[in-house]
Symmetry: D2
Subunit: 320 residues, 4 copies
């Protein structure tokens, strides 16, 4: 498929799906998120040559929020090994809410169900290498910057806002502490976790991360292995089984692309190569980043989800 | 019944029940509690003339722990009125554990089930009058000191120990905060709650408090109303329905005395008058305090519970 | 207090509380219940001489529904002994709904929390003496008829209606069976349970039962012990801690009379003697039956509850 | 890879993994299952030419048990359309046990989380076309027989055994009925569900079914589309997210093949084509059936799971 055709279609589909922003609302608990223009919808796709295909409001920056959970999982596995991480956090989906204490109390003293619910993500963040919160953050940000090729900033306003209102996450973290599932001091664990959530990112950068995950940890542009195939494989499993909050199953059924969403309205998606479909676009795989701040009841970008569904159907991106 | 006979029987029953300390263990999570002599069993009964009847290790002092929950409920109702308190905390028993988050998450955004589970007790403590934690503590301690006639001390070692390991309570408190059920700052709410738990008390003082509750808030010795009949009535309801953790129902069935236990091994009990049983001991009601540090799986003093059961059966103390 | 005064006050209070029928709705799941005149409110009090005091619609008959649970508990304890029964069913309150499976699944393989939730009541009914459902029913009905002095009828329409729609109870019963907590065949257990619920009773008969429970199993009119003091005591404990569904705690706090309600709108209440209040009405105790078919969200008669609250306040009936 | 090499390796791996039967026990609740030789381990792989590769005890027959859940889902979608089915059953994973009522009661009146937990599978079975249980069974069995080319038998002993002990499933089904999620009579719904579980199958037949699912509903041997690509896609999503009970996430992470297990010890697996790995075995996809009756704590064949893990690692079968 020619590039112009790809651009044209993307542009068309963004406009087709823009009305779905009506099906959601920007997250209300942080002023910086609540006050965004709710009609925005932007996308960036990066192919294995580093070519980017953008449409809609594609120059936005937004905070990672829960998208950071899959990146911190990858980073921790890279730094400390899969066995170390899987010993502390399970990889099972849960039907409960992402911030529920129920499954935890019922099944205690079990480890968190998976790294993409808050309990698991706090645990993962707390184990990043480094003796202090600053060191942990530094190691993480260097890992991500290494992947995208330039530096990243923390959104200080969002960070402070989340820090002040993190009551539920504090509850979860103290619960973890009481269950001996958290070695780090609770306030430090929350600090590093919330910092990761408040990292500011562009669609292009996010698409690059999606591309590397899609290519099993290999950066096809810089031609180097950033993290292992095994880590990337399990990251994709988690994205498919637990990446889209409590509609992960429906997203897998109808879209079928490994993806992780955040309440800021961003979605990170990794489309693996499909060698047998040479006529289709992006048959060598790609990374996709979508942004639209109006999120649905499950916490996923409403229009972003629908846009990905249309793209997946049209270009046969489902891994199933 | 003559005084000597009462003394004699009490002494006998203490020895009869001492072996039941084998059915429990001192609470392990605080060194100061864990290291106690596990074979102790002491009792003090105070009648309406202020006469005390003691047997066993009756000169011990111990921290209130959960016994403080019923006293802080009474104090708060006294200071702010029943309607104010019942608007914030329900008075329903729950089958879940005293520190469970489950009922709470299932039924949210409900208020805590009752003031004798941790969630309710933290809420109650947080609302004590005073602008600071110190003021709140001061007001509470003055209220209790007014009842017993002398000053009380905080067990600093227990307080610090509990403060450091209060992970589960922090989890609960942050959960309350997130549900808008806690106005005070979480750390301050925990601070006042934990201080109340760490107040050191003697059996005689505790028996006096039990006597006042038994007499509907009236101090028959000093001849003055300390808190209202209504507050005392609801305190007794709570002691019967929720006072002995998850064996409150069995305690009501087999003992039938309004009571509140703590993990330090103390039990506060209030025996209302039984005017129609003139031949029985303490027919004008009494306060009872028991101490035996080995607690059973539900958190109640093992030998203390059995001693109260025998006394209740022998002297017909059940309100049912 | 003179009889005329009692009548006059009762009549007044019934009219005072009739408007509270607005706060509820007749139970909808059975046509026979749903179609009742929702404004009815009737009461009957029986004193120890067998004198009855009636006001409002006091000649109604209605089905026992959950009121049967406390009577079947008493009957089973009478026939098989307290130890036998308490070995099969606990006596602890639960904060969950009366027909919940949650506490059960979380705490399995525990026995039912108490005999007044459906799981416990089905277990109790299944253990009544007799080799067949008919024999069990016969033994139970004879026990109750012995207390009230004449024969009782089953409301066939209600029985058949409940039998057909007993899906939730079937679920509970099969769950019990799977947990080895039910010896009888499930369909037979449900049959006997539902029959007991469908027994038709008058206010006067119900007041008589309340009187016997209030007097510790002793019938002061016929002057004979019908069941043991111990059984009556535990029945009263259960009525106080679990008798009014999920507002048992509030009923104990504000009314304070051992009572059991049913979704048909009836309430059975047992007022123990209060020897020290000679000026008050019914100081030697009484049985009370109330009927008003509009039930509140918890399943209790709305106006009936309020009427009992007023009576208890005015005549100081609370046991607390 | 040459056929001999495939055979040789399979034989080797079966022997390598046979000792893992020690990590499980045959299901105990049905005599016919409990009495099996626990050391058996057999496998059959079918490629797109209909060639079968067998090793170990490969001539066994066993009952489908939960494997029937994915087949009945496919059949129902085929007969009534995806929209019809997804309207009645969700496709979300749950962290609770396959026969739990908890998620259901908490989230009611929600539909079952997915068709592979018992609640969902009973619902699916109940909606199969046909006016009677026999007709429904007939339509289902014809659908499956059409796929494998010959007739199938019901294991009458297992069927009767399960029918008699289906207390938990009856509880679930009555719960569904009460929630208006089951149109069919409960006993009929259970009857058809249990019949499907008791269908007897060989490894070769099961491998054929796996092959058709792997090839998107297309039978590459008979060269005809049996059910739609969409139905096959969602079947694979369910197998990945919920196919292996509460270790579905770990199976996806470490094996990565869409699969469904049953407590009889069988596993159905569908390996989609991997066109870009021409040097690997079965690059055009295959169906796999494994049998080893000793099941682990999660209900999955212990040795069967380990054998699939080794095969997937060696031949790169993971879809991730």
């Amino acid at each position: 498929m020619r590039s112009e055709e790809v651009y044209e279609k993307l542009k068309q589909w963004v406009e087709d799906n823009r009305s779905h922003t009506m099906l959601g609302e920007p997250a209300q608990y942080i002023p910086a998120l609540a006050n965004q223009d709710r009609d925005q919808l932007g996308i960036c796709i990066m192919d294995i040559d580093g070519e980017t295909y953008k449409a809609g409001e594609s120059d936005v920056k937004f905070t990672l929020q829960s998208i950071s959970k899959i990146i911190s999982f990858v980073a921790l596995c890279h730094f400390k090994g899969l066995d170390f991480v899987l010993d502390k956090v399970d990889v099972e989906p849960t039907g409960e809410s992402f911030n529920s204490i129920i499954p935890f109390e019922i099944h205690r003293p079990g480890k968190p169900f998976n790294p993409l619910i808050n309990a698991g993500a706090i645990t993962v963040a707390s184990m990043l290498p480094g003796d202090t919160v600053s060191e942990k953050y530094e190691r993480f940000i260097l890992f991500v910057e290494g992947m995208i090729g330039h530096s990243l900033e923390l959104d200080q306003e969002v960070y402070e806002s989340e820090w002040k209102t993190a009551h539920r996450n504090r509850a979860l973290a103290y619960y973890l502490k009481e269950s001996n599932l958290l070695d780090l001091d609770v306030e430090e664990a929350l600090d590093i976790y919330i910092r990761l959530c408040a990292i500011c990112i562009s669609l292009e950068d996010l698409a690059k991360i999606g591309l590397v995950i899609a290519h099993d940890g290999y950066d096809p542009i810089e031609e180097r292995q950033i993290f292992s195939h095994d880590v990337a494989r399990i990251a994709k499993v988690l994205m498919v089984t637990c990446g889209m909050y409590n509609s992960s199953g429906k997203f897998a059924a109808h879209v079928g692309i490994p993806a992780k969403s955040g309440v800021s309205g961003g979605i990170l998606a990794s489309v693996p190569p499909k060698w047998h479909s040479p006529e289709k676009a992006f048959r060598k795989g790609c990374g996709i980043a979508v942004f639209s701040p109006a999120i649905d009841v499950n916490g996923n970008s409403a229009a972003g989800t629908m846009l990905l569904r249309q793209i997946s159907e049209e270009w046969d991106f489902s891994i199933f």
